[in-house]
């Protein structure tokens, strides 16, 4: 069985038979963008369903089970409902910024998806600053949340947005620094080369002790960056209504909601790529069948997504001061020490090579 997954070149070759070079270039870009949009809109919907099923499982309920077999069409029905709903708004809102905010959030999270290597060939955009690009893009999404909270002209929305800003700016540091710790091992920022390095053992094994610390810090900070429980003060229902998206309805609300789930997927996918070898199979058992890489990549990602859902339904919510204490007094100093430790280990050649 021979499936070609190098989508960019395949589509480009197919299109260039019919049209000129420039047009084929643009056509290939647009086609790939549409494919990614379609896949991840649906994937986002099914992540919502997964979240509800996991929540039900943790709380000894059944969960959605009416629409379609095992409730599989439930979120499709929800999406249809959201599309057909009226778009409401407050009278004195700043209309331009109010309408702009959801697009900031969704576009920044969709842009990040382009750089992930799903298999050796299935990667839309292999930029040479891979990880750094992801960090840069993820720092833009918070602007959408701040704008949405402010432009709604609602004090609870504003409080939610300010909390989100504080939280995201603080935890971005930990995400960045824990990834820098792993870059010390790989010596490159390009995601495809990072996976090449891991053919001698996944980075969490190569870097052993500091790599495990970096992974734990990364998962804590990543959960905080996606504004999920136990760090969900942004939309703490009992205090703030729905937080920064209180005034949004219909599709605009759906953008925020979808972006949250795609962000969760992105955090898990970065962790799977950097720490657990991306599309590489354990011990190279399926090395002869390259297209199975997508199965391994998604498998690892969904285990980590499940871990984040597990956090959500296990831990109680933190207070704002506890959240900032955790980041600035514990995670950040620990992270800086961890970088020095990792540098020492790489310098002395104490990494484990399988």
């Amino acid at each position: 069985m021979n499936i070609t997954l190098s989508i960019t070149t395949t589509i480009y070759k197919f299109l260039s038979e019919y049209m000129s070079e420039g047009a084929a270039n643009i056509g290939a870009m647009v086609t790939i963008a549409l494919i990614y949009l379609a896949i991840f809109a649906v994937a986002g919907l099914y992540l919502v369903l997964l979240e509800r099923k996991v929540a039900a499982w943790f709380q000894l309920r059944i969960g959605p089970n009416r629409v379609g077999p095992w409730g599989l069409l439930q979120t499709m029905a929800d999406a249809l409902k959201l599309v057909s709903k009226e778009l409401t708004g407050t009278v004195k809102a700043d209309k331009f910024l109010y309408n702009l905010a959801p697009y900031f959030v969704i576009i920044s999270s969709l842009m990040a998806l382009a750089v992930f290597p799903f298999t050796q060939e299935f990667q839309a955009f292999d930029i040479n600053i891979g990880i750094f690009f992801l960090i840069a893009i993820s720092s833009i999404g918070v602007i959408g949340i701040l704008l949405g909270g402010w432009a709604s002209n609602n004090k609870f929305a504003l409080i939610g947005a300010m909390r989100s800003g504080v939280q995201t700016i603080s935890y971005e540091l930990s995400v960045g620094l824990s990834l820098v710790t792993m870059v010390l091992l790989t010596g490159t920022l390009q995601l495809s080369e990072i996976i090449e390095v891991q053919k001698n053992g996944w980075l969490i094994i190569q870097g052993h002790f500091p790599a495990i610390i970096a992974f734990m810090i990364y998962m804590i900070a990543g959960t905080a960056e996606t504004n999920r429980a136990p760090f969900d003060m942004v939309e703490a229902e009992s205090e703030l209504g729905a937080g920064f998206h209180t005034e949004y309805s219909g599709m605009k609300f759906a953008y925020f909601f979808l972006a949250e789930f795609i962000n969760m997927f992105i955090i898990a996918a970065i962790a799977a790529t950097i720490f657990f070898g991306g599309w590489l199979s354990p011990f190279g058992i399926t090395e002869s069948i390259p297209w199975l890489g997508i199965f391994w990549f998604l498998g690892k990602t969904f285990v980590l997504v499940f871990l984040m859902m597990w956090f959500r339904w296990t831990f109680p919510r933190l207070r704002v001061d506890q959240l900032l204490t955790l980041e600035w007094k514990y995670l950040l100093p620990l992270n800086l020490l961890n970088i020095v430790l990792m540098a020492l280990i790489v310098w002395l050649g104490l990494t484990i090579q399988l």
């Binding site: 910024l97 750094f132 960090i135 918070v142 602007i143 701040l146 402010w150 947005a161 490159t188």
Partner: protein, 173 residues
């Protein structure tokens, strides 16, 4: 195709720069400024300076704009509009801008720009090695000076933030 992308980006930069200075609502002009900065990052991506583009996005779009939004959100109500400046101030600002633009344009047009052949994109590794090299053409001295500047401003920020608490403790001793 690069030419069309450049024109699109240039149009975005110019339009949003003008909108940024003419808008009377404070937060809107911040957002137009963000579009300008993102457009500049787009031009860096276009000429294959990926590292510089990502720095532009992280530092300007992700850092500085978020800080400006924070300060605007803290002090500014949604119904407030900026006042129109006096005519004398407008004239002075216009003259200053014209002089600045003149300096830039004369510098740009007095040099000949050559088309680079066999262009290789710069990797992050090369940038890092250059930053820390102490041989001729290395940037270790400015790098260290900037580190000290950042350290000083960090200590200054802590002193300002502690403010009264710091002096009270010293006096009680």
């Amino acid at each position: 195709m690069e030419r069309y992308i450049f024109y699109i980006l240039a149009a975005i930069i110019i339009v949003s720069a003008i909108a940024s200075v003419t808008s009377k609502k404070m937060l809107r002009s911040v957002i137009y400024l963000l579009f300008t900065l993102c457009g500049i990052a787009g031009i860096y991506f276009l000429i294959d300076y990926n590292f510089l583009a990502a720095i532009q996005l992280t530092v300007y779009a992700g850092g500085i704009i978020v800080l400006i939004i924070f300060s605007v959100v803290l002090i500014h109500h949604i119904e407030m509009e900026l006042e129109v400046a006096k005519l004398s101030k407008k004239i002075i600002t216009g003259l200053a801008c014209a002089i600045g633009l003149g300096v830039f344009l004369t510098t740009i047009y007095s040099h000949q720009f050559n088309v680079v052949e066999n262009f290789n994109s710069t990797t992050t590794e090369q940038i890092g090695l250059k930053l820390l090299s102490y041989e001729a053409g290395g940037f270790i001295l400015p790098f260290e000076v900037i580190s000290i500047l950042l350290l000083a401003s960090m200590i200054g920020a802590i002193v300002i933030a502690k403010g009264k608490k710091l002096t009270d403790k010293n006096e009680s001793k």
